[in-house]
């Protein structure tokens, strides 16, 4: 987070991209877009574009990672070299490794891992265009892909960030706000219980701002949840 900036990111309660402080960017979710994966999802969130694919449950490799009493979720978040302005070196850097790790743990809370001892459920998240908020986009897409794959789950987990720009707490930071803003708080929750499965924060928030940011991000997650259910509804019909 850049912290103090002279840039005017909010003018008269309107953000650079025309949104109000509590407004999400436009989100489009399509379930079941890939042939080979057991479940998949394509998600556009503002200009972010993410594919997620799920394989499994299947035998866990490497074997020493197997758990005798449950399955593990092996999530992998990667950004394509062409997804950002400068070419990004392909593969897992430290940032992607951390995101993959905390996403795996978040999914293990909702996937019924105890039904598949020794197995692995692979969740691949590929960011093809990045404009801030890609970890939330990837986790949301992966949740839909898990449901599309028919993996038994207690719930899907929507993820959405809130943050602070020009001393205003806002929902869903865009690129400029991410670069020049004061705080970023990505959050993933279980909608049915409102439990927190993923939370990160960097930047500067007063205790009151933190409370407000939690409220905003939670409501963002609930809005997304609706869109995720609609995506499944569109693919499978009925009332998902």
């Amino acid at each position: 987070m850049a912290g103090q900036t002279d840039m005017e990111l909010i003018k008269n309660g309107v953000r650079l991209d025309g949104r109000k402080p509590d407004e999400l960017r436009e989100v489009k979710i399509v379930a079941g877009v890939l042939d080979n994966a057991d479940g998949s999802c394509y998600l556009e969130w503002g200009n972010n574009k993410v594919y997620a694919g799920v394989f499994g449950p299947m035998e866990c490799h490497p074997r020493h990672k197997q758990k005798a009493d449950r399955a593990i979720v092996q999530a992998r978040y990667t950004m394509a070299p062409f997804s950002v302005n400068d070419r990004k070196r392909p593969g897992l850097d430290r940032r992607s490794t951390e995101i993959s790790y905390i996403a795996s743990q978040a999914f293990e809370k909702v996937v019924m891992v105890e039904e598949f001892p020794k197995a692995s459920i692979r969740v691949d998240m590929q960011v093809v265009e990045a404009h801030a908020g890609t970890r939330c986009a990837a986790i949301t897409a992966a949740s839909v892909a898990l449901a599309d794959a028919g993996i038994p789950m207690r719930d899907m987990i929507p993820a959405c960030a809130s943050g602070k720009v020009n001393d205003v707490v806002v929902l869903d930071l865009n690129k400029e706000e991410d670069n020049y803003g004061q705080a970023d708080l990505p959050l993933a929750i279980i909608p049915s219980t409102k439990e927190v499965v993923l939370l990160q924060l960097d930047g500067h928030l007063t205790p009151d701002e933190f409370e407000k940011a939690m409220d905003l991000a939670t409501s963002g997650c609930m809005d997304l949840y609706e869109k995720m259910r609609n995506a499944l509804d569109n693919r499978y019909g009925g009332s998902a």
Partner: protein, 261 residues
């Protein structure tokens, strides 16, 4: 960092205790273990500190080198944090390149220090766009008895506080000066044991708990960084309560940090 080998008997015992507001080592649920900080024990490092948090023992060394700044911030010095989960610290630590656990640990510690602006990065500029100081924070875990997150943040802050910029060695100026430090971030880590949230978990408690939450505050009580970890969950209320608890409980660590200033 969790210990896989806690027996079910111990697990039940600790969960029952926690529900009654007690801990296996006699502490209250929002109580830190004894903290001890020593500084300046290494001559080759620009700054150094050893932190004892109960039986957890961390050695931190600061090295500073001259390098080129990033293109998007030509006037700022840089900072790199790494942690070494050396096999000598815990039976469950393997040798080899850094794993997910150690990467997560380094990045959470890094965010606490970086986002609080503890280091004045602009003061680390030697020649705009050409030469800046690069600060390397290397954390060596010598003994793991839980809560590496708080111990590492404390060790990094302590070591930075007594670091000197090696001007003479690198022919930048004729005197070494103190690394400019602007504020003091402190991180507080909580664990979820059964349905109870406890502060400063030991490795036994880490082996039983299902979720972890770390939050870093500056000395004005504002939040600077946070991270939820492990495959369990916290309720919304638990998170908000933990943030409040952190603001009062981090006093113990702040006092210890003040002792070395």
């Amino acid at each position: 960092m969790s210990n896989d080998h806690v027996s079910n008997l111990m697990k039940g015992h600790m969960e029952t205790l926690a529900a009654e507001g007690k801990r296996a080592d006699g502490r209250g649920i929002n109580e830190y273990r004894e903290v001890k900080i020593e500084t300046g024990m290494l001559n080759t490092a620009e700054g150094s500190a050893m932190v004892h948090l109960g039986k957890t023992k961390i050695l931190c060394g600061i090295k500073m080198l001259i390098g080129t700044p990033y293109g998007d911030s030509p006037k700022s010095g840089t900072m790199t944090t790494s942690t070494e989960l050396a096999p000598l610290a815990d039976q469950s630590f393997d040798p080899g390149p850094p794993r997910e656990q150690s990467i997560e640990l380094s990045r959470v510690v890094d965010r606490g220090i970086r986002e609080s602006r503890m280091i004045d990065f602009e003061a680390l500029c030697i020649e705009e766009g050409e030469k800046v100081w690069m600060v390397y924070i290397d954390l060596h875990i010598l003994d793991n008895n839980g809560n590496l997150f708080d111990a590492c943040t404390l060790a990094a802050a302590s070591a930075l506080s007594n670091a000197k910029i090696p001007n003479v060695q690198h022919s930048v100026a004729d005197k070494d000066v103190d690394l400019p430090v602007t504020c003091w971030p402190i991180s507080c880590t909580f664990g979820k044991l059964g349905n109870t949230v406890i502060l400063d978990p030991t490795s036994d408690e880490e082996g039983v708990m299902t979720a972890r939450f770390t939050v870093a505050h500056d000395e004005n009580g504002n939040l600077r960084a946070a991270q939820k970890g492990m495959n369990g969950a916290f309720t919304d209320a638990e998170i908000r309560e933990a943030v409040k608890t952190a603001r009062t409980s981090d006093n113990v660590l702040r006092e210890a940090l003040k002792g070395i200033q």
